[in-house]
């Protein structure tokens, strides 16, 4: 599945770009992230626990960062292996542009899911993937703007 959306973030473009590539920020923004380590050059590793419908999934994720145009755009390639639950993999292409209110972040996410969680059908999976992506970028906006998110 593929999805696209954008966020206006009240922060300067360069600051936004820099922030998105820190483990702390990734941990704060990935829903269910328990542990995130690494760097943009070496890639990140994360443990994420999520519940998809009736299936509880613990993913060991690896994220690599490619196609970096500093301050402008980058692509995250992620793969999460979920043990008994299955796997998830995907890419997120992020483009930043100046905006009167700060910076506009446009993201295009492509996600693929396999194993037990894939069985639940697009009914549940698509909604879940959309929720995960939206949560990520909403949390990111919140973190950047210093707003407490419920």
């Amino acid at each position: 599945m593929e999805m696209q959306d954008s966020q206006i973030i009240a922060a300067p473009r360069d600051a936004v770009f820099e922030a998105i590539l820190t483990p702390e920020m990734l941990k704060a923004c990935i829903s269910g992230a328990q542990d995130v380590t690494g760097s943009p050059d070496e890639g990140f590793e994360a443990v994420v626990v999520q519940k998809v419908g009736p299936v509880k999934a613990k993913f060991r994720g690896a994220v690599t960062v490619v196609d970096v145009v500093p301050g402008r755009s980058l692509r995250l390639i992620g793969e999460g292996k979920g043990g008994a639950a299955g796997f998830a993999k995907g890419t997120a292409t992020i483009t930043l542009a100046d905006h009167p209110d700060g910076c506009e972040l446009v993201y295009v996410v492509e996600a693929k899911i396999g194993g037990k969680i894939a069985q639940l059908g697009s009914r549940i999976i698509d909604g879940f993937a959309k929720k995960m992506a939206n949560q990520f970028f909403e949390s990111f906006k919140g973190e950047m703007e210093g707003v407490e998110l419920s």
Binding site: K58, K81, G82, A85, G86, Q119, R123
Partner: protein
């Protein structure tokens, strides 16, 4: 206030004419009261539970397996991988020596290094409870390298296809031809040639009770006891003996109450074998119940096929020739132990079976795919062959310009007068009664009125269709199928009949009953032979420790074979008792008969009831004048030696309405006239037909295992895989023509699959009949609203 007892056939009423009586299954009343005993209802002391880690990829290489975290969890006893289990358990090797060119990779109970379909078992986590095992399974980490996969049939057969299993360099698992090498003459001289392409979606049986097993290896006695939700306990005894290197005599397999089977529970599954091997490894009882998510990806799948067919007819509508190619999707491994080829072979060989087809040629290929293995499901290939045939008949009738019912009638095989004969495709077909079935059907449905109504409604833009499906069904399949293939599978059915001292009878039968009611019908048959109440006959089944050797339940054999074995045992038992009675009564045995459980002699009632005979033979043998005690236990086994199978036949018809704007189908009415020979119990037979028809309607309209391009099963829940519910199903009118088979004294043929064989063809032809004014046709099953709308729109675009 007293409730009336179950009214129609009180069990204390004697059955003087047992065969043909619509007696209810009083012995199965406990199921209605929630007192059944299915595998998950059984608990053994010290029992452990398994949760499996299954492969998430269609094709993958296992790089490493980490179980340390899982083993730390409370209640966890073991986490076992494929390498460990391989030390005590051999992989399934499913390559029947008698099928030339058949090729399937070995399938271990737990994948070792390579896994070939999403859902293949990889690690068995064993714990004190299922919940603890599942929690721990989530902590097992398997590192995978995803490998290229071939999932659809088209992908599997392409020249550049990835190999489904690394031990092969292509994906062709079977290639066979039926009939003539060349049929071009028939087509060159034809008045009309019609041609169509077909596709059949992958299905699965969806038993309401999922598969389940309890295995108990007793290390002290070195004996294995298995309780399994299964159709064929004797087969499973041989399978476990072979895989674990045990003597079959040290194994007992019990099939308790089984919550639906439909062929799905005919196979040996890797996960169930793993549960047995784990019990042997740990020396503890192990329970494994397949959950619904697992059952979708690991139960036998079926039906996935593509086909093309050409039919040549003369100007009057007589069929001159059939030329077909069937490509069947086998999945990753051949299903053990019977293989996956049965569906493909019957899908090709049975095309045109009810008709005189002139020249015949059918080529069949089976393809490995990175999907769940395919196996037997009710009807095995015959629903595909029937649907292809019936659609071709309708196309040809339209080309010739004759009524589709008439087209069928003039082409039917009528071997009733001609006796048993072999067809061009190699089928051996017994007496058929298709024309009689069709005549009765057309009267029941009031065909002319329906056609007139259809024409009138079309004027108003209402599209109704009438569809027919004639079928020939191979039932009670004998040893001629698996014997020559070199597979150790019993095809006979047996009955061990015992007269107890109190005059009651015990029938231990090799036939198993998953709800068909076969056991009740066998009891009814036996009771009728002695003219006693059915509750005087105790049935024992589904237990290798207590029943004689035999097949079980497959290929519609319960009454056809098991019934005949029971009848023969009764005759021998009676003969022995009459011998004794003749001595007591000083008459010829031929002068005796049973009435109300008592032997009637020349002077009427003799006082020699079954109870008296039981006491005499068991306790007072010295009072027997001849001094010869007849055997109190008789064992009879039956399989038709002069026929490979017993052919039943029938005709289905459906009346439906297609909404051309919504793509929906409303089933208005359904009729079937079936000839399954002697009907022992019409109450059971009719509901077998109806249940089979509803499964066939499910195949036609709803059911499909939808895999993504990369081999992920995407609708593996009962919310997403749609099965027929009561609200959408029509009234189904059942009637019979009775042509007893000459293969047995009882004359019963099989009936369990007749509904499923015909219904998809009837619904297909009816939808295409409804859509014919729009010049639209559907070819890919199931005929979902989307596919029907696509067909309507494609036809509109052509205009």
């Amino acid at each position: 206030m007293l409730l009336k007892p179950c009214a129609r056939w009180p069990m204390n009423k004697l059955v003087s004419k047992a065969v043909g009586a619509p007696m209810p299954r009083e012995s199965a009343r406990l199921l209605v009261e929630g007192r059944g005993s299915y595998v998950d209802d059984i608990a053994l002391p010290g029992m452990l539970h398994i949760a499996f880690v299954r492969a998430p990829f269609a094709h993958g290489r296992i790089l490493c397996i980490e179980t340390a975290d899982a083993l730390q969890m409370p209640g966890v006893v073991a986490a076992i991988d494929g390498k460990e289990l391989a030390e005590i358990c051999a992989p399934f090797d499913t390559n029947p020596p008698g099928v030339p060119g058949h090729a399937s990779a070995p399938q271990p109970p737990l994948a070792i290094e390579e896994s070939c379909f999403q859902g293949e078992t990889v690690v068995a986590v064993v714990a004190e409870s299922r919940a603890a095992a599942e929690d721990a399974a989530e902590l097992v980490f398997v590192d995978w390298e995803e490998l290229p996969a071939a999932c659809s049939i088209a992908e599997a057969q392409s020249d550049s296809a990835a190999a489904v299993h690394s031990s092969f360099d292509n994906n062709l698992s079977l290639h066979h031809r039926f009939g003539a090498e060349d049929v071009s003459d028939a087509f060159e001289n034809a008045a009309h040639v019609v041609e169509e392409s077909f596709a059949f979606g992958r299905q699965t049986g969806v038993t309401l009770e999922p598969r389940g097993i309890i295995a108990h290896w007793d290390p002290r006695a070195e004996e294995l006891e298995v309780w399994q939700s299964h159709q064929v306990p004797w087969q499973m005894r041989e399978v476990y003996a072979a895989q674990l290197g045990l003597s079959p005599q040290s194994i007992r397999v019990v099939a308790p109450d089984v919550g639906g089977a439909f062929g799905l529970k005919l196979h040996a599954y890797a996960d169930e074998l793993a549960a047995v091997a784990v019990s042997k490894r740990l020396g503890r009882p192990i329970k494994y119940i397949v959950d619904r998510l697992e059952s979708f990806t690991s139960d036998a799948h079926a039906r996935e096929a593509k086909a093309t067919c050409r039919m040549a007819v003369d100007s009057e509508g007589h069929i001159l020739g059939i030329d077909a190619v069937v490509d069947s999707g086998f999945g990753a491994y051949a299903m053990h132990p019977r293989g996956s080829f049965g569906e493909a072979m019957q899908a090709a060989q049975m095309i045109g079976a009810p008709y005189k087809v002139g020249a015949f040629r059918a080529e069949v290929r089976g393809w490995r795919q990175n999907k769940a293995p395919s196996g037997a499901y009710r009807g095995v290939g015959q629903p595909i062959a029937c649907a292809i045939t019936e659609d071709m008949i309708d196309l040809a009738a339209r080309a010739v310009g004759i009524d589709p019912a008439e087209m069928r009638r003039i082409n039917y095989r009528s071997t009733l007068d001609e006796g048993t004969r072999a067809t061009q495709s190699g089928l051996v077909i017994e007496e058929l009664s298709l024309d009689a079935c069709l005549a009765k059907l057309m009267e029941a449905m009031d065909y002319k009125t329906l056609r007139a109504g259809q024409a009138a409604l079309r004027e108003n833009g209402i599209y109704r269709g009438i569809g027919f499906a004639s079928f020939v069904e191979l039932t009670g399949v004998g040893a001629g199928l698996y014997g020559p293939l070199g597979l150790p599978l019993a095809a006979n059915e047996s009955c061990r009949l015992t007269l107890q001292p109190d005059g009651s009878l015990t029938c231990a039968t090799s036939v198993t009953d998953q709800g068909q009611g076969t056991l009740s019908a066998l009891g009814q048959l036996i009771a009728g032979e002695f003219d006693i109440a059915p509750n005087m006959v105790r049935m024992i089944s589904g237990d290798t420790g207590r029943t004689p050797y035999g097949g079980g339940a497959w290929a519609s054999r319960g009454m056809a074979l098991g019934g005949e074995a029971a009848r023969r045992a009764c005759v021998r038992m009676r003969d022995g008792l009459f011998e004794v009675a003749a001595g007591v009564l000083q008459c010829e045995p031929s002068a005796l008969a049973f009435d109300n459980g008592e032997i009637i002699g020349l002077k009427g009632p003799s006082g020699l009831t079954l109870a008296e005979m039981g006491a005499l033979c068991h306790y007072r043998p010295y009072d027997i004048p001849t001094g010869q005690v007849p055997p109190m236990t008789i064992e009879e086994s039956f399989l038709p030696l002069n026929l490979p199978y017993i052919t039943s036949n029938g005709v289905h018809a459906v009346h439906l309405e297609v909404d051309s704007e919504l793509g929906t189908v409303e089933l208005l009415d359904y009729w079937v006239v079936d000839d399954c020979g002697t009907v022992v119990n019409p109450l059971l037979v009719d509901e077998q037909l109806r249940g089979g028809i509803v499964q066939g309607i499910g195949a036609a309209l709803y059911e499909e295992c939808v895999y993504s391009e990369d081999g992920q099963f995407t609708n593996g829940t009962l919310a997403d895989y749609v099965v027929p519910m009561a609200g959408e199903m029509p009234a189904i009118h059942v009637d019979h023509i009775t042509t007893p088979t000459r293969a047995s004294g009882l004359g019963a043929k099989g009936v369990g699959e007749a509904g499923t064989v015909g219904a998809p063809g009837a619904v297909r032809t009816a939808i295409n009949d409804a859509l014919s004014p729009l010049a639209a046709r559907v070819a890919k099953q199931p005929f979902t609203t989307r596919r029907i709308l696509e067909a309507v729109m494609a036809a509109e675009n052509l205009e």
